[in-house]
Amino acid sequence: MRSRRIVMSILTFVLASVLVLAGCSKNNSGSSNATNSTPNTGNSGSEGSSGNSGGSSDSKLEKWGLDENLRFKETRKITVEIYDRGNDGGTPPEDNFYTDYIKEGMLRDHNVEVEFVPVPRWTEGEVINNLLAANQAPDISVTYSYPTIQTYANMGGVLDLAPYLEEAKDILPDLWDLLTDTNIYWDQDPKTGTIWALEARLAVLNRINTFVREDWLKKLNMEAPTNLEEFENMLKAFRDNASLLLGDQADKMIPFAISFDVGWRADHLTTSFVPDDITDKDLFVYGFDDRKFLLPNYKEAIRVLNKWYHEGLIWKDFSLYPAGDPTEDNLMKAGYVGAFIHNWDYPYRNGEDSIHASLQRMVGPDAAFVAIETFPNDAGVYRKFLSPPIDRKIFFPATNKEPIASLLYLNWISKFENRFFLQFGEEGVTHEKMPDGSYKALAATGEKIMNSPNNIDYTITVNGLDLGDPDLTVKSIANGYAGVDKRYIEIAYQASINEGRVGKNVNVGEIKAENGVGQALKEKRDTVLNKAIVAPVSDFDKVYDSGFEDYLRSGGQAIIDERKAKWEEFYGDKTMLD
């Protein structure tokens, strides 16, 4: 009895002390990490300067703990965000052949240990947000959402890159070559001079294309449509000839497919309703929504979709499936979809798993989507709004203790030979050289598979191919779609940039009204568009207008007003940029 009590009390004590110790030791490890990461200043004995760097840069290198070859004297450690696409047959994004290449290279060239932190691609905004809020964001973080960065910057959660860039410019030549002043200073605040993020370069400005089933046109003896009316007639022809086109699966026919993301999936159509002479000012003031929802006449384009929906031309279930759901892709792959608007190369992406390849497997060798230009605007021009040359935004959270090592990482990844290896891999394994000098990526399986096309997730400073020579670049891009006839890619490439209007940088600093409402407004926009499309034709105006009004009242109008005021403050009466 007594011994049992003793045993119990000992047990209790042990448990209680374990709990206390656990609390302490966590603190300990935290502080010891912190001491490890502070730069070691004791080691002072850098010898000889290397050619072009003068005395002052020597002392700079000294301060940063670098030797003359830009290697850290003490191994540094940085963490880098990497998108996780969770693709079938892919490798772990944080640990594979290419991450090893980067890790080895950074350790060899700069004595920096790199650790990758995977972040799901399709929810990256939310995830990086959570990581930032928890003070656990990777040293080099990447997101498409500048407002997220701005919000955290306002709270002191992001490093101002301006002083570091200023000081370290001469050790970052490759970064500067690739991004140029345009992208490096893109987000610089015109008043305070702060730079919260670097804009990665978007090498391919193509955004969107309209696709139709080439073989269906042929079967129905139709020419590719060249305007809205012909396009509509084509959709009706698809609908009315379902049994000819799909046989006993005629009831599966979907003449035109869209998704809940109506703004993206109707882009060419909506753009054609925007007046051709819209000014840069109006584009800036009303164009903040990434789907251009506020541009004049947008509603009329949605009215067309509303009509189509009720005529049975649009996929009925479009609004039910969330982002990333494969249902719609599967319908395209199975050959039920006649036309759609999407990313400029959407059907050709992903090699064997692409819509194109699946279509050819499941339907036949003739079945293919081809890009067309079919929506002229009021001036009769097939206008497209192209992206500005910016892509992901790269930023260092305030928890980054190694800004110089991180900048060197960005420089390393921007260096031509490094990014070329990441984009094309090994000759004979993941690419071959074509007779015309262009490069062709080969679909690899196993450890050398690329989880994203041309490893864009690793080349964070550039999205898309840039081989220096534009012609070579386009040819190589066309080579990049394994198993797809080059003709389709070239048509798609041209169709998506023809008559394009490239986005310009209107740098007026932060628009305060945009803080905190971005996501809510996007939700509202999607809600309005979805509801308006399925509304009875007679209710269309009511549904659209009330939703639109709600959008403006919930913050949209405030943003418009502030943008207008900011434009006038910086550009006065000018309505066009140079």
Partner: protein, 311 residues
Amino acid sequence: MSTSAMNWNKTLSYLRRYWVLYAMLILPIAFFITFRYIPMHYIQIAFKEYSIVQSPWEMKWADNNGFEYFIQAFSNRDFIYALRNTLMLNFLDLIFGFPAPIILALILNELVFKRFKRFTQTVVYLPHFLSWVIISGMALQLLAPTNGLINILLNRMGFDSIPFLNDPVYWVGTYVVLGIWQSVGWNTIIYLAAITGINPELYEAASVDGAGRFRKIWHVTLPGLRPTIIVLLILSLGQILSSEFDRPYALSNKLVTDVSNVISIFVYNYGIRGLQFSLSTAVGLFQSVVCVIFLFAANALAKRFGERGIW
């Protein structure tokens, strides 16, 4: 003097005898203090201007005596709608979802074949272990207007598709029914346990008095279940303004946001994705306070009607 000394001695000897039990309580109490009470000082965020780099004690007070974010929430129409939807969905859950496990328990209890009873019980409580993401995926497969299995079946039989998921009214129905489907079996367990606790002599006495099956259910089983029902009812009234996230979020789509946007989704869109942490904390605090009020009120009411309540 002497009595207090005696009391003191009593307490001491009591403690000497049972201190081990109290020592063992240290662990759970430490757990609750560290993980439940210490984090609570972040409630201040609701009244302060949030900054990621400052501790909540250093943050600046918000405008309007710190109530800025409450004012913001209540002047936001989306919040008012979210409040309305939360109350509506929770009430419907209460009305339809609360009696369901009681009825199921009564039915199961009347089953004569024990094996069949056990089998049924297992089958109906398995959905409890499915996440709402999976359930919503299944719902899409079954209920989508053109690709959903049920609607395909209806079409083949010559009926029109039923917009289970894309019409707000139908969606609410789907939401409630799926909720019952998921939780009814699990919630039945506690009632079945309570039924086994009812004295069998009562049933025998009822039989002697000539009571049939339904009489026995009405006069013996249900009164036996009453305390359990009351406790669970109080607890669920305490949840009236709490708002699940995954269930409405996973089942929702852009066409039904008028009824599916509940408080948790409001917090997610404005607070988490919109990075307005003070606003979301204010909303969360409001929810908790209302829930506590409901809990106390329900408990007091139960006591007034002569029940034991939950404390």
